[in-house]
């Protein structure tokens, strides 16, 4: 028994259904649209929400890039890219600027996205209010009534307990002055990139069966207080050991030999591009 899969894995009616949910999500920024999430050939929690969006959207002309925690070469990114390629035979790339569709786990690329591109973020926990309300039936009501005092209280309690907001990645944002949204666990550093983005940003949670969106040029504000403003992770005085970049999100690494920590761009394709540029410039100068 030999079975060949349809283009982009799904049957066409499944793709259409996912696209319908996506259109609704774009029409109501920040609102979590339930959809009948399919089981995928990769595990739940490994990006099945993002993958369903990607597969429902790709056409023959698309160029796909997949990143996992900043890296194009990370095993899970490679695995997802391979699956997309095996079922569609479309082109893939590591270069952010060249991609039409970028699926990412927990990072927004350093290179600013442009109009026409789509960023698909993989989401483990789409519900920003889940921390203090375990019931879906309740959180749905809270969103409907725009009753977000719990979200503010959660941040307030963190400040009282620890002196600062300790949301880690996934700091909640207010979208279009209406819905509080989990930006998927992107670091706080990336939150600002969601605001008034030129590219369409789609977020897919496979296990939790939700799709939501930040359409281009939508206002996205990280929740904070006047006296305790939102602060991103700080990499002050740090620069990338490889390309020398500053002001980007960095991985903190440990050098066995010297026993010291050093820093490196988390966005590996950005880092590589910078290094290529530098060596090209040096080459041009020496000529």
């Amino acid at each position: 028994m030999q079975i060949n899969y349809n283009f982009a894995f799904f049957d066409e009616s499944s793709k259409r259904e996912i696209r319908r949910a996506t259109l609704k999500a774009i029409a109501v920024p920040g609102y979590q649209v339930p959809f009948a999430s399919r089981e995928m050939p990769i595990a739940r929690g490994w990006g099945t929400g993002g993958l369903q969006l990607t597969l429902s959207l790709v056409g023959l002309d698309d160029i796909v890039k997949v990143i996992d925690q900043g890296s194009d070469e990370s095993v899970n990114a490679v695995s997802i890219k391979k699956l997309v390629q095996n079922t569609t035979d479309i082109r893939t790339t590591d270069e952010t600027a060249k991609a039409t569709l970028i699926q990412s786990r927990h990072r927004v690329p350093e290179i600013p996205l442009r109009a026409g591109q789509i960023l698909v973020l993989q989401v483990p926990m789409p519900e920003p209010l889940r921390m203090y309300e375990p019931r879906e039936a309740e959180t749905k009501k809270l969103h409907a009534e725009k009753e977000y005092s719990g979200a503010w209280l959660m941040l307030f309690e963190q400040i009282m307990n620890y002196g600062s907001m300790t949301t880690g990645a996934d700091h909640p944002v207010m979208v279009h002055d209406r819905y509080v949204m989990a930006p998927s666990p992107i670091p706080k550093f990336d939150n600002a990139k969601l605001n008034s983005s030129e590219a369409l940003i789609l977020l897919g949670a496979g296990r939790e069966k939700k799709i939501y969106a930040v359409p281009p040029y939508t206002k996205v504000v990280s929740l904070d207080f006047e006296d305790y403003p939102f602060e991103t992770e700080s990499f002050e005085d740090r620069s990338c050991r490889l390309c020398g970049s500053t002001g980007v999100f960095m991985d903190e690494l440990y050098d066995d030999a010297s026993g010291t920590a050093y820093f490196q761009c988390n966005d590996t394709s950005y880092c590589l591009e910078r290094m290529n540029e530098q060596s090209w410039r040096e080459g041009a100068e020496s000529r």
Binding site: D11, S13, G70, R135, E136, Y162, R207
Partner: protein
């Protein structure tokens, strides 16, 4: 240079896939799918039930590919299921029409139609049968021949009559209120995700697709102390039921116009629980309520557990997690729970870096309150 480990992913994956194939084949012996289908009925039934895909051959293939791991086999079948368009919904299946292979009741000794033990391990002694170590196909053939001879000495029974349901007897006796037929078109959680409060059909669908172990454990919690009820197996039946679909071009109203597409083997459990019913003038009387379980294949423990959970979820007392719809229904799916567990193996470098940043910050900004201040606060709090 720990970081290098996550680079070069492409090559690492290829080599890892070779390793897994090596593990499956290293003893130089591979399983024949037909042998799995022939001899692993229990595992096949469990996997078909959890995958909600009724196909013994594909289940056998999944078992081979997954080297017998149920969670992995279910995962394979569910992913395959995603690629199949849903062209038809069957007509309602009537378990009264079941070709019964096994049927027991723990409530009545003499049920109309009798107790039919059928194939069951219930009264087997769990002693390892070392003879099976060297059993051959010829041994099996010889045994089958002898068995056929034994059966031959019984007169042909003809088509067995439809067996009365134990529940019908209770209703007849006035011990149970006849539940009204609910002919609402059932929801399908694989096409529209579950909503809360969940409809009965959503609940039953999620329960029947649930991971066998989880369904069993949660039902065990119900009868052990979390929403105590001691249920009785009103009727447990295992057998085959016909599946029909409507003529796609017809009106779909006349059962006579439907097409028979095959039969499926199912286990059905009707669990009886006693419950108080309010009488006139504030009095109470006892009556029986039902919990319903139905799953693909012969999965008796799961069907009974499903019946218990069905009843439990109908109660909805929020003191008990086992009566909380979201607690039970969101967490019993094999693909979802095992998937989220395994995702913890993925790199979390970015999220962890972010958390580390927070932790470091709290170390510098938190100032321990002075002793006299703490005392003051304590005083105020009294």
């Amino acid at each position: 240079m720990g970081y290098v480990a996550v680079k070069g992913g492409t090559l690492a994956i290829e080599e890892s896939l070779k390793r897994i194939k090596f593990e499956r084949t290293k003893q130089g012996k591979v399983l024949d799918v037909t042998r799995i289908e022939g001899g692993m009925r229990g595992l096949i039934d469990q996997i078909m039930s959890e995958s909600s895909l009724y196909d013994e051959t594909l289940a056998a293939l999944a078992i081979k590919q997954a080297e017998g791991s149920p969670e992995e086999a279910v995962f394979l079948l569910r992913a395959y299921r995603s690629t199949l368009p849903r062209k038809h919904y069957s007509r309602a299946v009537h378990t009264r029409e079941m070709r019964v292979e096994r049927r027991i009741s723990a409530s009545f000794k003499d049920i109309p139609g009798g107790q039919i033990l059928g194939a069951s391990v219930d009264y087997s002694h769990r002693l390892l049968d070392f003879d099976l170590m060297h059993e051959t196909d010829e041994d099996a053939a010889r045994w089958l021949e002898a068995f056929a001879g034994e059966l031959g000495s019984f007169p042909e029974a003809g088509r067995p009559p439809e067996l009365m349901k134990v529940m019908d007897y209770l209703i007849e006796q006035g011990l149970m209120i006849s539940p009204a037929d609910d002919n609402t078109e059932p929801d399908d959680v694989t096409r529209r995700s579950i909503t809360f409060p969940a409809s009965r059909s959503q609940k039953l669908q999620v329960l029947t697709r649930g991971q066998t172990g989880t369904v069993t454990s949660l039902a065990y919690a119900v009868i052990r102390g979390y929403g105590v009820s001691h249920p009785t197996v009103g009727e447990l039946r295992v057998g085959r039921v016909p599946v029909c679909i409507d003529d796609p071009l017809g009106s779909g109203e006349d059962a006579e116009d439907s097409y028979y597409i095959g039969e499926i083997k199912v286990t059905e459990a009707e669990m009886l629980m006693s419950a108080a019913v309010a009488k006139e003038q504030g009095g109470k009387e006892l009556s029986f309520e039902i919990g319903y379980g139905l799953c693909y294949g012969q999965n008796e423990t799961k069907a009974i557990a499903m019946g218990i959970l069905d009843h439990s979820l109908e109660q909805g007392d929020s003191r008990f997690p086992t009566q909380d719809q979201e607690f039970v229904l969101y967490h019993i799916d094999s693909v979802e729970s095992t998937g989220f567990m395994s995702h913890l193996k993925l790199p979390h470098y970015v999220t962890f870096q972010s958390k580390m940043n927070d932790v470091r910050k709290t170390k510098t900004t938190v100032t321990t309150p002075k002793a006299d201040e703490t005392e003051e606060v304590k005083e105020l709090c009294k």
